[in-house]
Symmetry: C5
Subunit: 83 residues, 5 copies
């Protein structure tokens, strides 16, 4: 699972039905690139979170039919390199 920082939410119009009504977050990786993930946890901008990928991501919201490949798993309280 990757460690990333939450930047904000994502607004999009033409969206496949397979994403249903889950919240989408824009995340920044340690190397500075950006990713989009579904968020069943309710992370806020500035939070450090870890994300799971692949088919595991689709189960995180309790619904395998959500067509994500990346989902927030937890908000990190303490992580040696955060400060």
């Amino acid at each position: 699972m990757q460690i990333v920082k939450v930047e904000g939410s994502l607004q999009c119009t033409a969206r496949i039905e397979g994403l249903k009504h889950v919240a989408l977050r824009v995340l920044q990786t340690e190397s500075g690139s950006r990713l989009v993930a579904t968020d069943p946890v309710g992370a806020e901008p500035g939070n450090w979170v870890f994300v799971t990928s692949g088919s595991a991501a689709r189960y995180t919201a309790g619904d395998f039919e959500i067509l994500t490949d990346l989902a927030v798993c937890g908000i990190i309280d303490h992580w040696p390199d955060k400060e």
Copy 2:
């Protein structure tokens, strides 16, 4: 899910049957490399979109038998770094 920009469509002849008649888009990543994705959304050149990978991609067009590993999920309306 990755954030990429649509460049255009892809023309190809010898194509496996498993891709059926879905539209194929050429996409450019933030780092400048190119990818091909199926597009059930109808994205236009210049659009910023996000794409899902793996088995989730095959469900986006409602047909698991489409042998893609990358599919457009939505067109981004607003994204902090777009401007």
Copy 3:
């Protein structure tokens, strides 16, 4: 799906039974690294092709028991950056 160029075929002896008698191609990525893929399409050296990965690759030859993780999906006729 990734865009790669066909270099040639691959000869190998000790080969797992799970690859059966499918043709194997050596491919070069845009960044210059090399990959091996199964080829149900019949691509020639010098062709630009796009490849699918993961479980989708195993279906491309119509036989899920072929233990590949990368397969040629189509030969590209026209691609803006090819010339």
Copy 4:
């Protein structure tokens, strides 16, 4: 499977139910980036371990419902480049 070094454990609050009560380790890759993995083996900080990804990771703790995409598989005793 990737070779990584254990840094320590991860504390997190808002955590999806799908991770249950498995231990989470922060790992450092050879290139210096960080990952999080479930650990059914009991690795200690400073150990070199190897990790499996994807759906295989979910089986390592004997419970496919654990929504990890990376799990510790073993502690390495001897590895040519460790010293």
Copy 5:
């Protein structure tokens, strides 16, 4: 499938049961990083091999319950860039 060179075997103690008694090889990629793979083929140090990833890797030894994500598929006899 990736092309890698065999460095040697891997000794490890605390190892998950899911790896059973398969041989483990340390491999070096073209870019110099190291990976671990199960080896149903019997590759020797110095051999160039190609490896399959993901769920396909688990079938290579004829036993889906082996929790690997990378397995040796074949020893390369001839490859343009080897000399």
